[in-house]
């Protein structure tokens, strides 16, 4: 399906009867050069960049459910590049640059909206930490501004500045951060990959790997065996369940992260505000709903739903920061299952099994990484070498002391 302004006008005048499915729905072939497990944002982006950047088009993306039905459809749509450590900064900055050109690149409206992200600070120590992080962001080319309380007040006068516990003393502003229409990201990448010949195979669950003499020959699926020169797992949230079928134990726990959306309001919140001290962050969608969230529930879970105590904690944080929210009604809440890694950072790497590759461990920050994750995973699959900005995302980094512990919590996944 191709789009143009002329087509929109024509369809508008003829009752919109000419639109066709955006991608094909093929049956799997017996063999592919690359089989990507997982039709989420990262898997589809990987297929797209393999085809576009490396000319590899004999690819299947196999998805257990429907594409975009996992975490790319369950996040709070925020994109940012505000990382501190060398292993992360250049990677996320590359991702943000790709977001900035994404819609032109795949010719699909992903509603990339760089409205700015403000991380609030409440104490001298937090201001020092924000200054240090801001300097790292500036060195990575991401840009950062340290605001004082007056600067924050000019942007968001309705915040509770004089709370006894967490008075607002300023904030770190990342103007290039913002939000993206998450479903459209999956659809745009799917369309771009499909146009280049990638087979997107939905309702096809991987049930096992065929591994002989230390080499992965393909995947067993609910639609039969599919042979592949390279198999690329890309199923964050379920990584342990899938890689267990290849006999691997991962440095990952699966946790549930909840998110919430209110009834539609008139424009009130232009950008994204994070209130880390109160475990609350919030933005407003184009439909008007306030989209907000907070901490992980904190225990291993595959349930895709959380429990009420964390909901209560999050809305308490919201009320503490924005008292005007008190009469706003919450419409929906949901949970996503995230791969929490042992240092809070992801993996894009080969495994010890020849021909089997792994991408996962994205914690609660996978959405913003989608373009760079796909780009770097495609680079690894095509060239056998990690991309320059993803060299630290090794699966064996704990063995060598190469942790990328952005939060400094150690090997305690629910605290990252």
């Amino acid at each position: 399906m191709r789009y143009s302004g002329l087509k929109v006008i024509k369809e508008a005048l003829t009752g919109h009867k000419g639109w066709r499915p955006t991608w094909r729905n093929p049956e799997p072939k017996a063999r592919y050069d690359v089989v990507i497990i997982g039709g989420g944002g990262h898997g589809l982006a990987t297929a797209y960049y393999l085809a576009k950047n490396h000319g590899i088009t004999n690819i299947a993306v196999v998805e257990k459910g429907w594409i975009g039905g996992g975490n790319v459809g369950r996040n709070t749509t925020i994109v940012r590049s505000n990382y501190l450590l060398d292993g992360n900064g250049p990677f996320y900055e590359m991702s943000l640059k790709l977001w900035e050109g994404l819609e032109q690149d795949f010719n699909y409206n992903a509603m990339v909206s760089q409205r700015g992200i403000l991380n609030l600070v409440h104490s001298d120590a937090q201001r020092d930490a924000a200054r240090r992080r801001g300097n790292a962001m500036i060195l990575n080319g991401s840009g950062a501004e340290l605001l004082d309380a007056k600067g924050v007040r000019a942007m968001y006068p309705f915040l509770n500045f004089d709370s006894a516990r967490f008075p607002i003393k300023g904030g770190l502003l990342h103007r290039r951060g913002g939000t993206v229409r998450h479903d459209a990201v999956a659809w745009g990448y799917a369309r771009g990959a499909d146009l280049r010949g990638v087979d997107i195979i939905q309702n096809c669950e991987v049930t096992g790997f065929r591994i002989e003499n230390g080499k992965c020959l393909g995947v067993e699926t609910s639609k039969g065996f599919i042979g592949a020169s390279k198999v690329a797992s890309c199923v964050a949230g379920s990584s342990s369940r899938v890689m267990e079928k290849a006999g691997m134990r991962l440095p990952i726990e699966s946790h549930v992260l909840q998110a919430f959306v209110t009834e539609g309001l008139k424009p009130v919140l232009d950008g994204v505000i994070t209130f880390g001290a109160g475990h609350f962050y919030c933005s407003q969608s184009d439909k008007g709903g306030l989209v907000f969230g907070g901490d992980l529930d904190g225990y291993n879970s595959y349930a895709q739903r959380g429990n009420l105590p964390v909901f209560e904690d999050v809305v308490e944080g919201g009320m503490a920061l924005i008292p005007a929210l008190g009469r706003v009604r919450v419409l929906r809440s949901w949970g996503g299952i995230v791969d929490m890694s042992m240092d809070g950072s992801p993996f894009i790497d080969k495994t010890h099994i020849d021909g089997l590759y792994f991408n996962g461990g994205w914690c609660y920050g996978g959405f913003k990484a989608t373009p760079a994750s796909g780009w770097c995973y495609a680079h690894l699959l095509a060239t056998g070498q990690p991309h320059d900005v993803a060299t630290d995302f090794r699966l064996d980094r704990f063995r060598h002391g190469g942790m990328i512990d952005e939060k400094g919590q150690g090997a305690q996944p629910n605290l990252h």
Binding site: S238, S240, R241, R249, L250, P251, I252, E253, S254, G298, Y299, N300, S301, Y302, A303, N307, P309, M342, F398, R399, A411, Q412, P413, N414
Partner: protein, 95 residues
């Protein structure tokens, strides 16, 4: 989630701090030849099952006991609760 504490009866899970897989009770022998490898696996690798999971919870806002809770990670059903010290003793980990 309600955790049925063996001593205190049913308590809200909010009173507890979660640590993780109860396999953390089985600390490797630091004098063994393969200690470095064993500690890497102990510290960083997890089974992370979908289904029954034995895990350590600390009753921080209660009697400050450690519990081993058997819980289903798909349904959040709590199936069994034991005092961690009983579990550890049964495995010869504690006096």
């Amino acid at each position: 989630m309600i955790i049925n504490h063996p001593i205190l009866g049913p308590r809200d899970a909010q009173e507890f701090i979660y640590l993780g897989d109860a396999a953390l009770i089985d600390r490797p022998d630091w004098q063994a030849d393969n200690a470095a490898e064993a500690f890497h696996d102990y510290l960083y690798l997890r089974d992370n099952p979908a289904g029954q999971h034995r895990e350590l919870w600390f009753h921080e806002q209660g009697d400050r006991s450690w519990l081993v809770v058997t819980r289903n990670t798909v349904t959040h059903d709590i199936l069994n609760v034991e005092l961690a010290r009983d579990v550890a003793r049964a495995r010869g980990r504690s006096k």
